[in-house]
Amino acid sequence: MKLLTTRSKVVSDKKMTFLERIYIPAILKGMYITIRHFFGKKATISYPEQKREFSQVYRGQHVLKRDDQGRERCTACGLCAVACPAEAITMIAAERKPGEEHLYREEKYAAVYEINMLRCIFCGDCEEACPKDAIFLTDRIVASDYKRKPFIYGKDILVEPVDPDKRIDISARQTESVLKFKQDKRFAHNK
């Protein structure tokens, strides 16, 4: 018979010997195992002080990027909302008024842009669908909360600050292989 794992044991219903029946050797053996673990290395990572290293392609909280002049890149085309399998993204588009050129890059912009973080599955399809390179998933963790309401992230949370020093770094997961993968249209999920 082919064994499925290397750790499997053949069991039998043979009569137990005297030593096995008084259990004490088996108990001592068990106690030896537990005491070894007692002094062994702990698997826990004490979270807020000590952070686990993320995978290179970790997908966390979204960011809405600005361009080099501090204008919002998003034009409220709605492709991300269409691509979203969890239907977490909603937006309301608005027309840019004269004098707002320094705020929005194109004539149309998102007046309201909301992502429901409880619905979001962090698949990254929105990022891939975006023709303007406006939305990205970063390596930031979505904070926990007690109520449902605060999980609907609006533009106040999503859009990055204008200050060039406070921009959100998205380079962590834009590795070479990821970029190459994105350029290959055969793997694109939204045709």
Binding site: M31, I33, T34, H37, F38, K42, T44
Partner: protein, 343 residues
Amino acid sequence: MDWTILIYKTIFLFIILFVTLLVAMYSTYGERKVAAFMQDRRGPNRAGPFGLFQPLADGVKMFMKEEIIPLTANKKLFILGPSIAMTTALLTGVVIPWGATLKIGGREFSMQIADLNIGILYVFAMVSIGVYGIMIGGWASNNKYALYGAIRAASQMISYELAMGMSIVALILTTGSLSLHEIVEQQQGMHWNIFYQPLGFLIFLTCAFAETNRAPFDLPECETELIGGYHTEYSSMKLGFYLFAEYINMFVSSAVIATLYFGGYNMPFIDQLGLSPNTVTLLGTAFFFLKIFGMIFLFMWIRWTLPRFRYDQLMNLGWKGLIPLAIFNIFVTGVYYFFTELT
């Protein structure tokens, strides 16, 4: 009436009460730490340094919880249950000799609250009453799981008390006294009873696990089958009392085991050091507590190693395993002393 003795005993009584509660409190912390370490975790470490304030936080939580008495429960008995469990658990500590004698101002003060000449029997009596706390609590809850837990507790405790008593009979044959103080005095140096009664010790230890309702004998309160057993319906500090009583019981039975089998407050080679009598006494007490903590650790170690017994296995072990073994132990001890005393 000698007032100094009365005042001394009262103060000592409160010290023992305080120490018992403190040890029981930190046993809960210790248990969680031991459990965590054995499972490659870290255990409570947020409340205070190394999580040392965790028991306080737990206590506050217990007090703040809503107190629920089920409509169908028998109210008086429902309250009586945890009270009995707690009281009997605390009463057992009275006869344990916590140390030798202190000499203050030319007078001798014994580090034992009451040196009963039937000390062991007193311990047994208290442990036996302790089962009423669980039984009454389980019965008064008017809940089938609680009742199951109570029935299991009662039958388990009665079964294992027999073997426990018999293992003690063999011990008494060697010591010739029921007084805990005398038993300790006889074990000076390294004449610990465990070397004379190894089989009796094993039986006593197993029964002590069963009597304190701890794994692998925690059938009365197994979470998985009986959702808490006899304290299913309990909440708030009444539940706290039950859980606390269990830890006090563990502390006291560790103390009893240390007294009976590990020489109590006797420290080997202490007489050669030439220290003053009071220092020796205090060192002895410290050593006694070290033994107790060692026993408590053994209790926890066993708990996080062994799985729970099945009910028929429990009864098999008690009636078919330990009781014949205990009788055999009495027989061997008796024959030995019969022949050594003839010559």
